[in-house]
């Protein structure tokens, strides 16, 4: 619809465009509002990243002068470190679990309780509760659940007269337990996004669908889901970025163990960079994580969100 406008606007030179922006007051707006935002962004985002990139080239404990230049050695150590590989792989597993378990779960529940009724409001509150809880608190709650000596799992084991088991100390199950907690913690958030989207679907459209569709799954698959596809795409995006940054669930549950098998990228950074006073190395992890996030975000945006094509 705006094709003609775009075509007409293209030949404008930069100078003419600025002149036009000056005339309609846009230039003033930009000059007035851009600097504060730019300043904050520079101060709190750009500077730390550049700082980290700089530090990642040094061996530095966090104290004293930054003098011990080591070039890309931190990076080569990082990429050769098997625990880093494991933590990357763990992050990928968290992403997959988020997309394949959490989002379908959130979507299913949203479809069940998106209508405005008193019972639904109650369910919504219950399902959202884990998300409202602080991460550390949920970590502690679940570490009690999983505790093989005094926790809920101990009670279950004794009730079934089985030997007590220590899920979080088991190399096979510890990470599964973490994934469970992550899904439990964040599905409510995605559910709320879906509920909001479903509520904005016009009622007449669903009525039209109820005249067209024989089965209720047909309405879901062909009308409801396509109409909230933008919300689903956004949710997946949040899931991916969130998964890459998981940290404060892992620390209280396993602290990365047993034998460093349950680290995420961030808990790896924290353990090997900060607690071991190897800030240069930690910075290298941070830079790698940053690049990974940017790459993922851009790829996702290009492949899935595609401006104008969605909606």
């Amino acid at each position: 619809m705006t094709d003609a406008k775009v075509a007409a606007a293209r030949p404008l030179t930069a100078k003419a465009r600025i002149a036009r922006m000056y005339r309609d007051g846009k230039l003033t707006t930009i000059l007035l509002f851009l600097p504060p935002a730019l300043l904050l962004f520079t101060l709190f985002v750009v500077t730390p990243i550049l700082n980290a990139a700089h530090l990642s080239l040094y061996r530095w404990s966090g104290f004293g002068e930054v003098t011990d230049y080591v070039g890309l050695k931190n990076y080569s150590t990082l990429f050769a470190h098997s625990i880093f590989h494991q933590s990357m792989w763990n992050s990928v597993k968290i992403i997959l679990a988020s997309i394949l378990l959490q989002i379908p779960l959130a979507l299913g529940l949203a479809l069940l309780i998106y209508r405005k009724t008193p019972t639904n409001t109650l369910f919504r509150l219950v399902f959202l509760a884990p998300y409202i809880l602080a991460e550390i608190a949920s970590g502690l709650i679940w570490s009690f659940m999983f505790d093989g000596d005094y926790g809920v799992s101990a009670q279950v084991a004794s009730a079934l007269s089985m030997p007590s088991f220590y899920i979080l100390a088991d190399k096979q199950f510890a990470f599964l337990a973490i994934i469970t907690v992550i899904v439990w913690k964040y599905f409510g958030f995605h559910m709320m996004i879906f509920i909001a989207a479903l509520q904005s679907v016009p009622g007449e459209l669903l009525e039209a669908a109820s005249l067209d569709c024989r089965k209720s799954w047909q309405i879901v698959a062909f009308v409801k889901l396509p109409l909230i596809s933008h919300a689903i795409k956004l949710s997946v995006f949040f899931s991916i970025i969130g998964s890459l940054q998981v940290f404060d669930i892992i620390i209280p549950l396993t602290n990365g163990g047993p034998s460093n098998s349950t680290h995420s990228i961030v808990s790896y950074l924290y353990t090997f960079g900060l607690t071991r006073l190897n800030v240069g190395y930690g910075s290298a992890v941070g830079v790698a994580l940053f690049l990974f996030c940017v790459f993922t975000a851009l790829t996702y945006k290009r492949l899935v969100i595609r401006e104008g094509k969605s909606a």
Partner: protein, 333 residues
Amino acid sequence: MATVQFKNVNKCFGATEVIPDISLNIPHGSFTVFVGPSGCGKSTLLRMVAGLEEVSAGSIAIDQQDVTFVRPVDRGVAMVFQSYALYPHMNVEQNIGFGLKMAKVPADEVKRRVHAAAETLQLDQLLKRKPGELSGGQRQRVAIGRAIVREPKVFLFDEPLSNLDAALRTQMRIELAQLHKRLGATMIYVTHDQVEAMTLADQIVVLNKGRIEQVGSPMELYLNPRTLFVAGFIGSPKMNLINGATAGRFDAHTLGIRPEHIDICHDAGQWQGKVIISEQLGSDTYLHLDVPGAGNIIARAPGDASFTAGQQVGLAPRNDCLHRFDAQGQALE
């Protein structure tokens, strides 16, 4: 035969009773129009036929079969919504064919029927467009196309033209009338525009506060309104309604006379009136008059007649066109 029957239908939303008790027959192949003021229950009645709204008591039958508890999709009805309700993520072709696809009609059959409908509605050039890229009138046609392809027993329209501009509305009105003639299907049409009601309907149902005031052909309602409400609702400009002594002289509580049934004579007529304002529409001139003993009266004069405000004229109501009503608003014979 696709008749629609309401039997003692009652509808309540919570504690508010919207439709107390309606019984109505809609014959096969008729174009029935529900008219009435806003909030009188027209849409509710239509939506109950579609199954989008449950009846609180009574029953509805389509094609002699009780459908009161049948799901909307199984009732054999198609509905055109006021907002069109087109699926924004589907193009015109998919929108029109969606119901058939869901009913597992073979793909080539769907295609054939969609293209046939598109041709009837002059949509063949637009099949690949999304609803967002269509004009209001085109969207309306897609919505109608979506109804046609399903070959329903009953078409339901809820104020389908109210979002269109005047010119397009007239055009679509004619197209709808032609469509009805061609398909011969039963159609129920809700509007509060009485021009649409008069021109499209072969049966008008006038509703007021959830009750049927009168059912009949447009001319029947125009010539013989059985209640004061119908008399005031049908016809444009409205029928003049006169109370008091003037009505009393005709043994009525209220006397009704249409503007077109008052002749204007320059000498003394039955009534004397002073022109307040004269509206010249080209084809007709409507005089708003102040008549002592009768109040404000509208009378129709030929289009080329010219009057000035303040002018005194004589009025001669045609005595065979008078409508008399009692204190309860019922017509007197």
